[in-house]
């Protein structure tokens, strides 16, 4: 029998705020829900999802168990051609969902040109452009090769990469070394200084780092990130603490195993680049999320990635299928002299960090960069709090001091995104739309709705057909 009459009335008010005000006046405990209509109004997909809700819940639990139990460690380095699965001499990997040469944005084209010159396929811009368009060069998303790359994300066969292993599940992931700021390949620069730096990284930085890592054996990256969150990083837009922590581990060994000159230049390079750790935080996220791929009936997002033209996502339960939409231009704080008109649409695989409960999802841990998100720590906290609405779990290792060490919101559920009409929140760097100019700002964006809508419908259709 109904207990309502015997209990103190406590109300959840969904809709007209005046009702909540009336309740306040009468000292009745109540909570107002800021309700928004779902992103999709067609009820047939919801009906299917409701029908399978138990199965979906079980599958998502399994997916989260895998993400949270992952043990990402740095185990070594190698040349892309030697270690990345499916890598070929005439293959270039790029950020985001699949894209053909014609459709690539300025910075990605620039990075392709640079990589072709670096690989010796061409000597000049014009030559490289012809090669790129000739069909002799194949393009494929990093994500389809257990790899992630920031911004343009170009990985070519000769590039050295970090090798990460998920000790719990045995899968691997790969990422390049971060080149630093300014004129760099990932922002589409391809002049001599860029190519020169890439060669130096291949010939000096790579061997000296490789020797050091081999000597150490393995480095627990998850632990570094957990500490960095307590030190003001969210490991997407701010990597200063994580880079420093890594530096502390590497420095003595680099000195120990290398010639003096190589050691000095290696250490100086890492020291001068606050974002050195970014590629690794992406690799950590990739290797953790890959463990949760291909779980039947799971609606958890395992990839969010942008190629500068499109924004694409993949779900655990829908295999290798990409769901894409137009990539938006971030709301950003621009460096002096640049405006939104100069900005390229959002680009890079770095949103894998948000997919893993870091970056924008953990922005409450990073008061130092709140000017990117509206200026106040409140805004940052509210962004993180909102992400709990669309995620399945609170992270067991990554925790936010300001929220009483609450775990970061982890495991985006596409069903929650659609039902609640709340889109994932990403903090990101902004590239100039023309190749080679580099970073012109940093800011935030809401993921576009289209990929999530398509994924939701695709997921529902797959349930129907199973």
């Amino acid at each position: 029998m109904n207990k309502l009459f015997e209990s103190e009335l406590k109300v959840i008010n969904i809709g007209l705020k005046s009702f909540k005000e009336t309740l306040d006046e009468q000292k009745v405990q109540s909570v107002q829900v800021d309700w928004k209509p779902p992103l999709i109004s067609d009820s047939s997909s919801f009906d299917v999802i409701r029908k399978y809700s138990d199965k979906i819940e079980d599958a998502n639990k399994e997916a989260l168990k895998r993400i949270l139990n992952s043990k990402p460690v740095l185990v070594g380095m190698g040349k892309a051609i030697d270690v990345i699965p499916g890598m070929k001499k005439n293959l270039l990997l790029h950020a985001g969902p699949p894209i053909v040469w014609d459709k690539m944005c300025g910075p990605m084209k620039g990075a392709v040109i640079g990589a072709l010159i670096y690989e010796g396929f061409a000597k000049t811009y014009d030559e490289a452009e012809k090669v790129a368009a000739s069909g002799k060069i194949e393009f494929s998303p990093c994500h389809e090769h257990a790899t992630v790359g920031p911004m343009a994300g170009i990985v070519s066969p000769s590039m050295p990469v970090f090798i990460l292993e998920n000790e719990e599940f045995g899968n691997k992931a790969f990422c390049t070394m971060n080149e630093g700021l300014g004129k760099v390949l990932r922002y589409g620069a391809y002049d001599e200084s860029v190519i020169g730096r890439l060669r130096w990284m291949e010939n000096v930085l790579y061997p000296s780092l490789k020797k050091a890592i081999d000597k150490i054996g393995k480095i627990d990256l998850k632990n570094i990130i957990a500490q960095a969150l307590h030190m003001g990083d969210e490991v997407h837009n701010r990597n200063r603490a994580a880079t420093s922590l890594l530096y502390r581990i590497l420095a003595p060994v680099i000195v120990e195993v290398n010639e003096k000159d190589a050691a000095i230049s290696t250490l100086n390079f890492i020291n001068s680049n606050d974002h050195f750790f970014l590629n690794l935080s992406m690799g950590v996220s990739k290797v953790s999320l890959d463990a949760a791929r291909n779980i039947e009936n799971s609606s958890i997002v395992v990839v969010m990635a942008r190629n500068g033209t499109e924004f694409g996502i993949q779900l655990s339960g829908t295999g290798d299928q990409w769901f894409t939409g137009i990539s938006p231009i971030p709301e950003a704080l621009y460096f002096t002299g640049y405006t939104k008109d100069d900005a390229n649409p959002d680009i890079g695989d770095s949103s894998i960090t948000e997919t893993n409960g870091l970056g924008g999802f953990a922005i409450a841990a990073s008061p130092a960069i709140v000017q990117f998100v509206g200026g106040s720590t409140n805004d940052a906290v509210n962004y993180t709090l909102k992400m709990y609405e669309i995620t399945t779990a609170e992270n067991n290792i990554y925790k936010i001091p300001y929220l009483n060490f609450r775990g970061t919101p982890t495991g985006i559920d596409v069903i929650k995104v659609i039902e609640k009409n709340i889109l994932p929140f990403i903090d990101t760097g902004v590239a100039h739309k023309n190749a080679g100019i580099g970073q012109i700002g940093a800011g935030v964006l809401e993921a576009p709705a289209d990929p999530f809508k398509k994924a939701f419908i695709g997921f529902a259709n797959q349930l129907k057909n199973n």
Partner: protein
């Protein structure tokens, strides 16, 4: 179900984002273009879409297409019969009646508007509402500006008042909008071409504020919001009761915006009648 009551004749196709949100109005923007989704109490306008049965707090996405718009996923067709015509129509014009109606409008405006509106330009006594040093400076500038306007030194006058004052659209800009509307009406009444002057004033007045610019542009083009259009029609063709009612409706727009436009209009229209 969104119910479309009227839509503006100057809507621009595009994908719009929320600019600002109030109880009965949501301002959407796309670049420098604005669309205002409003409820019926706000009435029509060149950039307005007047809708009903809508919870304003829930509106998020707006797309304007050729023959329909999408608001929160709901597709609503533009029915031609609901198109709002923002142009003022002058058919027959009785100058004496017009003058006496204008005087009545002035009186109604002074009596009904908020204390901080520009009506102090019409009635000295209302200056007593301005006390703080910002407000005193505000009044001083307008007084100088009005002198500039009466001596046809428009650019100087505009420089003094544009962008100053209260509200989302500053009082000075509202005044200039009203002035531009008056020039457009004068063109029709007198069959004289003021287009150069209008363009001149508009260029001098527009600033970096896209929101205000949208209103100025409408005024420049002689596109009127329904409240203002009704008012002018009543001054042209009706009696005091209608004028009073339309004045009250006009000044219900913002705290001072409607009244400030009204004052600007009076200055513009009288400039030629005197």
């Amino acid at each position: 179900m969104i119910k479309l009551l009227s839509f503006g004749d100057h809507l621009v196709k595009g994908i719009y984002n929320v600019h600002s949100r109030f109880d009965k109005v949501i301002n959407f923007y796309s670049g420098n273009t604005f669309v205002f989704i409003v409820n019926n109490s706000i009435r029509g306008g060149p950039f307005n879409i007047v809708v009903d049965d809508v919870n304003f707090s829930e509106l998020e996405n707006l797309i304007i297409a050729e023959d329909y718009f999408l608001l929160n996923e709901e597709k609503v067709f533009f029915e031609t019969s609901k198109k709002y015509d923002s142009e003022i129509k002058v058919t027959n014009f009785d100058e004496d009646k017009f003058k006496s109606n204008l005087n009545y409008f002035e009186k109604a405006l002074i009596e009904n508007s908020s204390g901080k509106s520009l009506t102090f330009l019409l009635d000295e006594r209302r200056k007593k509402n301005f006390k703080s040093s910002y407000e005193i400076e505000f009044v001083r500038r307008f007084n100088v500006a009005v002198e500039c306007f009466t001596s046809s030194n428009y650019l100087e006058g505009i420089k003094l008042i544009k962008g100053i004052g209260f509200g989302l659209t500053p009082s000075g800009d509202d005044f200039i909008s009203g002035f531009l509307i008056a020039l457009n009406v004068n063109q029709k009444l007198e069959k004289v071409d003021y287009s150069n002057l209008i363009a001149h004033i508009y260029e001098a007045a527009k600033g970096n504020n896209a929101f205000t610019n949208a209103f100025l542009l409408a005024a420049k083009n002689g596109s009127l919001f329904e409240k203002f259009k009704n008012l002018i029609h009543s001054i042209l063709y009706s009696g005091q009761n209608e004028i009073l009612e339309n004045t009250r409706t006009l000044i219900s727009f913002g705290e001072t915006s409607g009244a400030d436009q009204g004052v600007g209009f009076l200055f513009g229209i009288k400039r030629n009648l005197k």
